[in-house]
């Protein structure tokens, strides 16, 4: 099958002209000048504004909703409640447990209950106040351990496993025997708190249902295709009568991966009112929409030999899922499945359980499911190094998994540059000369990680391509790329331009990209699991290699030479053996159009068959894995307990860096987000279910003053299956920042921080405990009193 062909890692015309260079982005100047159009920037004639009435209760039965007074308010053009959109949906076909508006009960504070469309926002807000909802409050679950042990009342009636959302238990090899043979065993509890995406653009959707029966939805989504499918499913419209367009997107980080209430509500209200309807979430609503990082309570037990070789890892994880399933089934697997690199685990067992609680639902956030276990394990590995009196980088080196191998849980590893990542951060941070010599309260810590470049597991199982593109080439000399992929700021449209220009030998400005419009573009599964560069890149090369022979043949015939002599380079065509032969690529395209009629091609990509031969073995299987290592430098104020992090060195193996500037941007953005999660951010609710700080002031994301100096060091282990050898760069580089900070704090002041976030209070408590330990040790040793 063509879409599974390997395209090789070599430059198509002898040497790279665009790949590997710091070219500008296709949309950079449009964004810089304010010309780029985001969803809320669009207004349509006759447009109505919608608002949602949200639940003040964390868990309650809805006894009655009275909208009579609201309907009577002048300017109100439509009101809907759960009964108007009763069809359940959810991103995963097996766990569809959400409705656009609550039906019969609410499961978290802020859950949408009713929606109003009115001539302006003020009228819509006024109407919300006139809607009367009678609730019967139910017991509120905010502690995941309570949900583990108690099902009455259930959060989801008819859920087969009560308040347990998903349970996974997988075991590889004789873990207990391996641990009992180990020379050193460390066992501890770790806690990763909730954090959220906080993209600066709030979610927004605009729907227009036309008289011809076609629904058009502009939405700030990172997965237009799944929104398209979900709309068809919930609205009962055939998919071919729905068009989903993702305008310019103001940040996502996983937070715009689910289909959301506003997309269904605007669509339905437009169908009922006959007018376009827009809904823009307030910042507070974005916090209640959440889908952020799952809090995880983790117990890890790891054994190693005297010379630092791992013998086995045993993990037990309780995951606080919030009120709905979202991606939770995958999260529960990822929490275990993605830990088996970059170190070679001889044996491994994990038991992970996701429970429902009455909180905004968790979902995928940058480094989905694997950032939390990575934190726990990398801190535990440091503890083993400490017990063995071994350098933390050395213990990691001794356990690195090789390239071209298979992990203990059956994941195929192709390229692997993790050893070089460790070398780079060791050297750049001055590890050998500076560690232990930075002065009081200062330290260095290291951590490493591995992440997927796309997943071979589509959200809904199907044998169709996971990525597809279409090229249109015409006599103007322009190639238009139609790509279903969602550019969410990471630069996937820019990467498409670089790859097509490289492969067809054109200048960059000869390639323009149209993306994420379901009417215009072939289906792509969207921006998640770090799949776009890898999968869409391969699909683009596939399409180009159908056009290229036509261009070459048309020129070769004109010059009456063999096609192997022809070179397309940056928009100019030449002959390797006759310098008098030259024409522009545009002239060549005209010749090809004359010879072959209208020019165009499609290209596609599907992953090879991957994964372990057991239930769940394909979850976490990726065609390639990226690798990362960080060294973090910290300074701990022992009076206030405040940690500052002045420097992070980030080495990341992204395969071939198609544009090192964009790769560095992803690495720096990832590390920033990790540092933020470690030191500043906390998404949490009070026992009532009310959010503790649903604003960008209270949910503290770092400013330019809080952010460390971030040093990006690119490692390129060319992957045999990536486009020209490329892999992902957008999620992997987040993982090690958090454990590297914890490990640096240990180096600085001798305390192990196993609970996130690393607040001054936690630091002071640990410092006091440490001081007591030290004085007890001193007393035992008969030292000075």
């Amino acid at each position: 099958m063509a879409s599974r062909d390997l395209h090789g890692i070599d430059p198509p015309w002898g040497e790279f002209r665009h790949v590997g260079r710091a070219s500008r982005k296709v949309d950079g100047l449009a964004k810089a000048t304010g010309a780029a159009v985001y969803t809320d920037d669009i207004s349509l004639p006759g447009m109505l504004h919608a608002k949602l009435l949200r639940s003040p209760h964390a868990h309650a039965r809805i006894l009655a909703i009275d909208t009579t007074r609201a309907r009577a308010l002048p300017g109100v053009r439509g009101i809907i409640t759960g009964e108007d959109l009763p069809v359940k949906y959810g991103i995963l076909p097996w766990t569809q447990d959400e409705t656009a508006l609550a039906v019969s009960k609410v499961r978290h504070v802020g859950e949408p209950v009713a929606a109003v469309a009115a001539v302006d926002e003020d009228t819509a807000n006024e109407a919300l106040k006139l809607i009367q909802v009678d609730y019967e409050p139910l017991h509120t679950y905010t502690d995941p351990f309570e949900s583990l042990s108690r099902n009455d009342p259930p959060i989801h009636e008819h859920h087969k496993t009560g308040n347990i959302s998903k349970h996974v238990h997988l075991s590889f090899g004789e873990v207990d025997a391996a641990l009992s043979r180990a020379d050193v065993v460390v066992e501890d509890d770790y806690f990763f708190h909730g954090t959220t995406h906080a993209a600066i653009e709030p979610h927004c959707a605009l729907a227009r249902y036309g008289a011809e029966g076609v629904l058009t939805l502009w939405s700030s989504t990172q997965i237009s295709h799944y929104v398209h499918r979900a709309l068809a499913h919930v609205l009962g419209l055939p998919a071919h009568r729905i068009r989903v367009i993702q305008p310019c997107l103001g940040g996502a980080f996983g937070g715009k991966s689910d289909p959301f209430s506003l997309e269904f509500v605007t669509a339905k209200l437009s169908m009922l009112s006959g007018r376009p309807v827009k809904l823009l979430y307030t910042r507070e609503e974005v916090f209640y929409t959440h889908r952020g990082r799952h809090p995880m309570h983790m117990r890890y037990k790891t054994g190693a030999t005297r010379d630092g070789r791992l013998t086995g890892v045993d993990a037990k994880i309780v995951i606080d899922g919030g009120a709905y399933s979202s991606f939770g089934l995958v999260t529960t697997y990822y929490a275990g499945q993605l830990l088996t690199g970059p170190y070679d685990f001889p044996t491994y067992r994990f038991d992970s359980t996701r429970v429902f609680t009455n909180k905004p639902a968790c979902g995928p956030k940058r480094g989905h499911g694997s950032v939390q276990p990575r934190f726990a394990f990398e801190v535990q590995l440091d503890e083993i190094a400490e017990k063995l009196n071994m350098d933390p980088i050395e213990i990691r080196r001794r356990n690195l998994i090789a390239a071209s191998t298979t992990t203990v849980n059956g994941q195929r590893i192709t390229s692997n540059g993790v050893a070089q990542c460790l070398d780079f951060v060791e050297k750049a941070s001055g590890w050998t000369s500076r560690r232990g010599r930075l002065g009081p309260g200062r330290g260095l810590g290291v951590a490493a990680s591995m992440y997927i470049s796309g997943t071979n597991y589509p959200i809904y199982p199907n044998p169709m391509p996971q990525a597809a593109v279409q090229l249109k080439v015409d006599r103007s000399g322009l190639v238009t790329v139609f790509s279903g992929a969602n550019d969410i700021g990471q630069g996937s449209n820019s990467v498409a331009q670089y790859l097509v220009a490289e492969e067809l030998g054109l200048a960059l400005d000869q390639v323009r990209v149209v993306s994420a419009d379901t009417d215009l573009c072939p289906v792509d599964l969207g921006a998640y699991s770090s799949r776009e560069t890898f999968m869409v890149g391969n699909a683009l090369i596939d399409a180009c290699r159908k056009i290229r022979p036509q261009l070459v043949q048309a020129v070769a015939d004109k010059w009456k030479v063999d096609g192997t002599r022809i070179r397309f380079v940056n928009g100019v065509v030449g002959d390797l053996e006759d310098a008098s032969h030259s024409m522009s690529a545009t002239e060549a395209i005209c010749l090809a159009e004359e010879r072959f009629d209208a020019l165009g091609a499609t290209g596609a990509y599907n992953t090879p068959t991957l994964g372990g031969d057991y239930r769940g073995g394909t979850i976490g299987a990726s065609p390639a894995y990226s690798f990362t290592a960080h060294v973090a430098e910290v300074s701990v104020d022992i009076e206030t307990g405040r940690i500052t992090c002045p420097n992070v060195w980030i080495a990341h193996d992204c395969g071939r860096a198609l544009n090192p500037m964009l790769v560095a941007g992803q690495m720096e953005g990832s590390a920033y987000m990790g540092v933020a999660e470690a030191l500043m951010e906390h998404h949490d609710v009070y026992p009532s279910g009310l959010h503790k700080g649903p604003s960008l002031l209270d949910y503290r994301i770092p400013t330019s003053v809080d952010t460390p100096a971030l040093h990006a060091l690119i490692v390129e282990s060319l992957d045999p299956e990536g486009p020209y050898g490329a892999k992902e760069a957008g999620e992997g580089p987040l993982h090690p920042s958090i454990p590297a900070i914890s490990n640096a704090v240990f180096d600085a002041v001798g305390i192990r921080l196993r609970q996130l976030p690393f607040t001054p209070g936690r630091v002071l408590t640990a410092l006091r405990a440490r001081a007591k330990e030290v004085s007890a040790e001193t007393a035992r040793a008969g030292g000075p009193r």
């Binding site: 810089a32 000048t33 995406h197 103001g250 941007g665 720096e668 971030l710």
Partner: protein, 176 residues
């Protein structure tokens, strides 16, 4: 009310409680100013009022009457009007350095940077970090933003900025 925006005097009819941001976006069609929080926390709506950065979601439109407002849309025309080529040099430097990922916060950030460079043409990294502390960015980790401001400042003085983190050092010269 009458607002002076990007050099044009505009006659606007809007409810009294509308903020400057709302009027710019939803009355004047100047959607380059973004709303990220609507309560002064994120800085995405930053505009220049008499040349100084101001958070337009915290100002009623009426309060801005009689003052010169510059939005992101105003920079390139002003640059061209002064005989320049293309986008304003600060806008161009943001693009050149990869500082525009999702781009949503950057119109505000670019305007803050523009005001800084008018005031302090050769800022230190600390001065840049301080000047941009009111403009939250969730994508970049600020590194490429700092590089962009340094690049714009260096270019205005006609000097080369220091190499950026992702720029590969040139291969060592062969010794005979």
């Amino acid at each position: 009310m009458h607002l002076t925006v990007n050099g044009d005097v505009q006659d606007v009819d809007a409810p009294d409680h509308w903020t400057l941001l709302e009027v710019l976006r939803y009355r004047l069609g100047l959607t380059g100013s973004k709303q990220g929080c609507d309560k002064g926390d994120c800085g995405a709506c930053t505009v220049l009022v008499n040349g100084n950065p101001m958070i337009s979601c915290l100002v009623l439109a009426r309060e801005a009457e009689g003052r010169a407002i510059t939005t992101i849309e105003g920079l390139m025309p002003a640059h061209l009007g002064a005989g320049g080529v293309g986008a304003d040099p600060v806008q161009d430097a943001f693009d050149r350095c990869g500082a525009l990922q999702c781009g949503f916060c950057q119109s505000g950030t670019i305007l803050s940077a523009r005001a800084l460079l008018w005031e302090t043409p050769n800022p230190s990294e600390t001065e840049i970090r301080n000047a941009l502390a009111g403009n939250l960015c969730r994508c970049t980790g600020y590194t490429q933003i700092l590089q962009a401001v340094l690049l714009a400042a260096a270019r205005s003085r006609g000097v080369d900025p220091a190499p950026r983190s992702w720029e590969t050092p040139p291969p060592p010269k062969e010794t005979p």
